[in-house]
Symmetry: C2
Subunit: 270 residues, 2 copies
């Protein structure tokens, strides 16, 4: 999906919500365990319930990988079930030397036909650029993450006056364009967004951590929105596990709709 | 496999060679393409030819992941074929927040029964520690990598006087012990090993980049060996693709044996 197509979807749906498919056999409603493939059944119902309100789905690859072959089958069937006008993100956080990065790009862009893959930046340019040469596909590089461990290295002060994550954003941005590169920016540090927007004013940011991880939607939008919206805000557990009863999907729909309405209001005030 | 068992294997075989299974359909000998599963056939012959001379195998997960379900089946069958007294490394470079890291640990330690997994450090402590709580299993954290991109971020100078990769080694070492934690240290920067051994004198180092990536075995040993050996030196392409004819496995065996003999000599002089 191109940048222009993504922006069109955002405008049409008045939403920049991404639903994270961190689907976990231990957390889905009990009654689904009767099905032959409970996770696929769960995902389909979540997609049916939320597709009106979101512009992206983000399967967390670890949850599928941990289930072996069945997990990969479930991932493929889930992707095929997602409507074609919704952006898809393989939240895989891959990162390896050039020839290996090519293999990961092939896995997610060709074997599974995702629109984008999240990438870890530690290994530098040749680990990132193989994801940037596929038309209509995106690399989404970790800039600032929303977990406690973000403080261990990402905030390291460099002799140049930058913090490490600022250098990562600035340097990585020079390897691609805002048409093939996005960044992960953790929402629990909304104030950092002002500085981030000075470094990368035009790129889309994928913002995890609104909801279960404690970020605030209005704070993130205050500092992070740009003229093209420029944000994809993810919610996983808050939407997926809104209710554990037979009507869980209705609860998920209500939460997704509430977020979409808040987003529509924010977009209208821009 | 415990540290003690690994050291025993090294002493018994007089080798600290790791064979990287970066098995690529476009590079394996043509005559194998007739088999129902050419990659598995290739891996089995490489294992048969090299198992006397090495103490570890390291499948590069990208190469299997890019082949979809068949790739994961091949990975599982390959692992089952590796003799139980040889250390196994999932070269996966995973790294994500705590609950997701737990899922990756489950994938590689339980679903596939690897002894160890390589991990990217950018997301900090909660992305690493889930790999350190499985008895007999190991996390192998990227310290200094051997690719060109290593210079983009890993050598960043911090205000404390450290380079980023030195901080990564020092900080990460405090999260585990030398019985559950190793580090990836690129061999093409052998001089850095003196500094690295001051920071982590006792940990095992996984050293890629000897051979195709240009590192020298004797240089690496000069600076990297410790009292327990403390090195696993990887060769992938140099061994796998030593010959493309019907007798390719003999050529692979000869290369592996030559490296093992060089290692035996180095160990005897210690």
């Amino acid at each position: 999906m191109t940048r222009q197509e993504l922006i069109q979807q955002i405008n049409k749906k008045q939403s920049f919500l991404c639903v994270g498919l961190d689907s976990d056999l231990e957390k889905i409603p009990n009654h689904l365990l009767e099905f032959e493939n409970p996770i696929l059944e769960f995902n389909k119902r979540i997609i049916d319930a939320t597709k009106e309100y979101c512009v992206a789905y983000k399967p967390n690859i670890a949850f599928y990988e941990s289930m072996g072959l069945k997990g990969w089958e479930t991932l493929k069937a889930t992707l095929e079930y997602i409507p074609k006008d919704i952006f898809t993100i393989a939240d895989a956080k891959r990162g390896d030397i050039g020839n290996t990065a090519n293999m990961y790009a092939k896995a997610f862009f060709e074997t599974y036909n995702f629109d984008s893959v999240t990438i870890a930046p530690y290994m530098g340019e040749d680990s990132v650029t193989p994801f940037l040469s596929h038309p209509g596909k995106w690399g989404i590089v970790l800039g600032l993450t929303s977990n406690a461990g973000a403080f261990d290295f990402q905030f390291s002060e460099l002799v140049t006056g930058e913090l490490l994550y600022e250098k990562v954003l600035r340097t990585t941005a020079s390897w691609g364009t805002n048409e093939n590169l996005m960044f992960v920016v953790g929402a629990t540090k909304a104030e950092s967004l002002t500085k981030i927007r000075k470094i990368i004013p035009n790129h889309f940011l994928l913002v995890p951590g609104v909801g279960a991880q404690g970020g605030s939607l209005s704070e993130v939008c205050k500092y992070g929105l740009n003229q093209d919206c420029g944000l994809l805000i993810n919610s996983s557990r808050g939407i997926l596990y809104a209710d554990s009863g037979e009507n869980f999907a209705n609860a998920s729909a209500r939460i997704a709709q509430r977020i979409q309405q808040e987003m529509a209001e924010i977009l209208s005030k821009k």
